[in-house]
């Protein structure tokens, strides 16, 4: 299963020279915690809600005058859109991050995969497996019941 099929967040980017306030408004309006930062369409960074709190608010910075480029993580670790989910988990482990930009073959951003996305996907798969076990048991009980009645 490629990561591109389980992305839940909309593809949201912000220009590197946009203000931190613009980034906060975009995160607020779209209910996301991170934005891909681009310069002329190329991925150059990742900015999170935490970056805004610890790098600007905590330090007494001005959110309207601080550009996103000043607080973003530069050249973040990313995965390609065709990478499998287990590969994405391994990349997150190695980089010790819980969000990864997802890029296409031209390294253009197509989204962000989060640890939460992966957890929800795997949990749903486990739930489906549990259903299969439960239904198998139910079917066996019903077939045994028919045999006893026969």
């Amino acid at each position: 299963m490629p990561v591109s099929e389980i992305l839940t967040a909309p593809i949201l980017t912000i220009a590197a020279d946009a203000s931190v306030a613009d980034a906060a408004r975009t995160m607020h309006d779209h209910h996301v915690g991170a934005l891909l930062v681009t310069r002329e369409g190329d991925l150059v960074g990742l900015v999170t809600d935490r970056d805004i709190t610890v790098s600007v608010i905590a330090e007494g910075g001005d959110v309207e005058r601080t550009p996103v480029a000043n607080i973003m993580t530069r050249e973040p670790t990313f995965v390609r859109e065709h990478a499998g989910i287990f590969e994405a988990i391994r990349v997150m482990q190695r980089a010790n991050v819980r969000r990864l930009p997802v890029v296409d073959q031209h390294l253009r951003p197509v989204g962000i995969i989060t640890a939460d996305d992966l957890l929800i996907y795997i949990s749903n798969e486990l739930g489906t497996l549990a259903q299969a076990l439960f239904r198998g048991l139910e079917r066996e009980r019903s077939e045994l019941g028919k045999l006893k009645r026969a």
């Binding site: 995160m27 608010i57 905590a58 007494g60 989910i85």
Partner: protein
């Protein structure tokens, strides 16, 4: 199984008199993503780095405002004697990823978070996996 042995007792707290900016600095220095607002040892709110970013980053709240402005709603709490399935059900019903855990007198004793439960459940699942099938290498999915 009660949640008591699963909770993290290291909870970073702030007082209601602190400003949002002071709380943000405290979060940064303690390297945590949320702080509990305590009054007489009892939790009256839970504030995350996201709450601060969205309120102050968008200009809706001054960083010099009291932290209680962001802790307007009582936090979702759980008694330390609560069972793990009930705690998970509470998280699901309330749509929260953290529960502030209190004793019988309402005093905070720790925090239970999804981030603590996932590794725990993962280990259990891994243990179960090794009992039902010998180890083998799966092809990439």
């Amino acid at each position: 199984m009660s949640i008591s042995p699963l909770i993290s007792s290291h909870v970073v707290s702030v007082t209601p008199a602190m400003t949002v900016r002071q709380a943000a600095r405290w979060m940064k220095s303690q390297n945590v993503g949320c702080v509990a607002v305590l009054e007489d040892e009892q939790p009256i709110g839970l504030v995350t780095d996201r709450d601060i970013a969205l309120a102050c980053g968008t200009g809706r709240l001054s960083p010099e405002a009291p932290i209680t402005e962001l802790a307007a709603h009582p936090p979702v709490t759980a008694l330390e004697s609560l069972s793990l399935p009930d705690a998970i059900a509470t998280m699901a019903a309330e749509g929260v990823r953290r529960l502030l855990v209190t004793d019988g007198l309402g005093r905070m004793v720790g925090i239970l978070s999804v981030d603590d439960l996932v590794p725990l459940l993962g280990e259990e699942l891994s243990g179960l996996g090794s009992t039902v099938r010998p180890r083998r290498n799966f092809p990439p999915v």
